[in-house]
Subunit: 239 residues, 2 copies
Amino acid sequence: MGIKERKEREKKQRANDILEAARQLFERKGFLNTPLQDVAKEAEISVGLIYRYFQSKEDIFASLALKGAEQYDKQLEALLKKAKGAKSRAQVAELLGDIAESFFAFYGPYGEYFDMLLYSYKGMKEVQIQATTLTRLMSVTLSSLDKLKTFVHRSPYFKARNEDEALRTVFLLWGLLLGCHKLFDSSGRGHLFAFQKDTFIKEMIEQVLVGIGGSTSEGKEPVRKPSLSSRELQFQDSL
Amino acid sequence: MGIKERKEREKKQRANDILEAARQLFERKGFLNTPLQDVAKEAEISVGLIYRYFQSKEDIFASLALKGAEQYDKQLEALLKKAKGAKSRAQVAELLGDIAESFFAFYGPYGEYFDMLLYSYKGMKEVQIQATTLTRLMSVTLSSLDKLKTFVHRSPYFKARNEDEALRTVFLLWGLLLGCHKLFDSSGRGHLFAFQKDTFIKEMIEQVLVGIGGSTSEGKEPVRKPSLSSRELQFQDSL
DNA sequence: TTTATTTTTGAATGCTGTTCACTTTCCTGG
DNA sequence: CCAGGAAAGTGAACAGCATTCAAAAATAAA
């Protein structure tokens, strides 16, 4: 029964062609500025055929987001394995920096709709998206969070004493990543701030590791040399 | 010259009517699911007239976002004034909780497009938005950040020694707020997590105040009783 | 009252996501 | 090799909606 398998393969291939065409165009011109006609042309098929492979334009994006999330999950796993047993602040900081980089690589292109799909998006158009895609998207997200939790729990660096405390730490880090990304997504109309992304992330990580409060423990922290200057708080825009 | 003034007033009033109609509908059905026809009907005018007051549908949303941001900025100012001199961790935690609440009130409805406008949004439709609206939106954002920075710098609680260190702290907090919001925006398709918003925010604040790292300083922190349980890490969905 | 200006209308326009009747291609059983 | 039926593929037609515009209505000025 090789025919059925070949057909299966071809179908997968075709779906992949569509996704790849869409990915390129979405990245170049933006999701809302890319008509499906263009996607069809790029994939060298007719418009109608797209709907034999995806339920809607949003469904295509959801599939792309899923691929991105799965890739991130794999990278995260590798990074955590590599850093297992990290003990010094420098080691942990490096790990977090790597995670941030990997996270941004996925979240940059797909984050917008990833949010829409997962957390629901008030402004989102009500359209059909394949249930399995959504389910897998959630599943892989939870998987990533769980990996992080386990790492934090077992790590000799973090002081979380049980899984629940570790989970809080994970949410803090996760939230910080999301927030940093927002503060920093910097391709397009104009930038609010004038600092470098890499430096910014590094300093945020350092800051969260050090903590922000506790005037009681004054003096025990190593001296930091911030590159973030108050002078950065100004327009660098192009209106 | 009362006529000109009256006309001015009426014009402002009309613009406000449109905004209010749009606000209601956007909130109820979502931005993308609300045709301008409906906005016009709600405001009891014709579709065409909307375009004498706003440059595009997105322009309406930008105006709404601006109003929200301005309101938040005012509330922030009041909260900071009230909490001036806060010294204990409990006081600071309460302040941050209040700020978070105020932030979410604004960011919930308008955040999506606020992001689009400020940080630029790859998926955004390329449309005309009044330049002054964008400028003011950025301006008020920077103003809020600056207020926070000044507070942190002068506060006896935070250990920031200069404005630059204070700014880092502010970005950390700001990023955390954005991140928490994302993790928690929970109206619609389904929720990833199963915990309560208020509790969650409180615990995140506590966590960031305590810090997450530093196994060296073990034991000096007060015992925490987390309500976030690992069991929460599962679907609570409605697919 | 007449004329000029501004406001307001809603039908027309154009773009685009989605559907559908139809054609082509491909597989299978005789 | 040949039907004939299923699956893949097509692109014109449809529908929804942001946006425009020519014309009408209302208002101000003369």
